[in-house]
Amino acid sequence: MATQHSRSAARLMMAPAVILLLGWMLVPLTMTLFFSFKKYLPLRGGDLGWVGFDNYIRFVTSSAFWPSVLATLIIVGGVLLITVCFGVLLAILLDQPMWGQGIVRILVIAPFFVMPTVTALVWKNMFMDPVNGLLAHLWKAFGLTPVEWLSQASLVSIVIIVSWQWLPFATLILLTAIQSLDSEQMEAAEMDGAPPLARFGFITLPHLSRAITIVVLIQTIFLLSIFAEIFVTTQGSFGTRTLTYLIYQRVLESQNVGLGSAGGIYAVILANIIALFLMRIVGKNLD
């Protein structure tokens, strides 16, 4: 039983973590909010005064804004589609009885542990290079002209690279969910003569719906902020400038801190909307 004494001890022991996280959240966010209402150009005059919502309006009306929204949507949407679809298929496949299941699982999960800069660089040079890349050799072997992946099909390339990174995550979570499926239910359906596709549609998929929702939410939050994959490959050129990358360029490259901060606030709001849904699911599980 918790006593009065242990309650106050508990509060004391929680304090460092709470204070650190509160500071980590509030201090920089307040500063971003502060800068977002200023014309602030550190290299060209510094603080040039308050401008109200000017930065917020200029951020969304700049010619770079809508293309960056589109790039973000294509990358996040494309990666989600690929990882969830293939993740479900892979999870079902890995759940089947086979030889060497453990090793196959290791092979499939491995890409998740590769650091993003390595992933980006290996794909960029050793696979997608139009002269020496492996894909170029493959294309030539079929008598086709090699594709200049990162310039001609830049968004597709980024989607491929990021999907390779995140497919293991989706697969692993969906596999964990599939393994909790009651096998008796499946057997009963099988004995009643339900064809495989019906068993998938009426038993497996509904059972997985929660896990899929969680994969989608968590991945969306992380995918919205991918950075190294673009930094190393295209540096935001060829239509791959996502919202995150646009804000990064505004803040650090062109040092227009006011404008970038307004963009940052948009990003924070967007992430919070998604986080709200995720936290609701997590919260339900806590009780």
Binding site: R7, L21, V104, L107, V114, L172
Partner: protein, 276 residues
Amino acid sequence: MARAVTTQRKIINTAAAWAVGLLIFFPILWTVLTSFKTEATAIADPPVFLFFDWTFENYKVVTERSDYARFLWNSIFIAGGSTLLGILVAVPAAWSMAFVPSRRTKDILLWMLSTKMLPAVGVLYPIYLLFIKMGLLDSRLGLTLVLMLINLPIIIWMLYTYFREIPGEILEAARMDGATLRSEILFVLIPLAVPGIASTLLLNFILAWNEAFWTLNLTAAKAAPLTAFIASYSSPEGLFYAKLSAASTMAIAPILILGWFSQKQLVRGLTFGAVK
């Protein structure tokens, strides 16, 4: 009851799964193979897979680069330091939430998790500015602190779930016997939770090792870890496939090995317990 499966089905499953598994693993395999080739073999047309003269030359060249040891040490320092610091802050917090829960515990926990969702780019400039003002830019200490803070929610969360599996009665018994709070945590809780703490350490070490936003933006020459070292190969003059592969292999090999041990913790740590 296990379902009876015909041998034929099992052979098909095995073949399909291995084919897919090897396809997904192939980029890593190819990188490792290329790291043992000469630069000329690495870009040979048509590409060679296994039958080439294996050489360790690339590893020698990369590790003899004057600064390689520093990048490696920075990675170890930053990933290890941020994880240990995080555990130090998280153990007391997780203890409170797991064993002395109050009405607000759940809200605090959810709030902590939600700070993990804060987009880094939204606070990039303030952190950058604070780092300049405090002289932390391009320092191992600064990066260690930032990585500790971004992973703290996951550390607390994981420890909390592990602590909850430990019966509170054991801790109470220790308390009845007159153990102080400190010895209760140090000598009763922590030994019981060693497996949980170990997996938490492992997963967070991996996450910190691979972190590639703050490590790229807050470091220059002095404190840059392996993520930045690899990124430096993206400049045209650094374009040597075999050496790039050797550097990459060295940067990912330790984490791949650790990662294989942490598969289960990955699900637990990254879905915040929403998938079991």
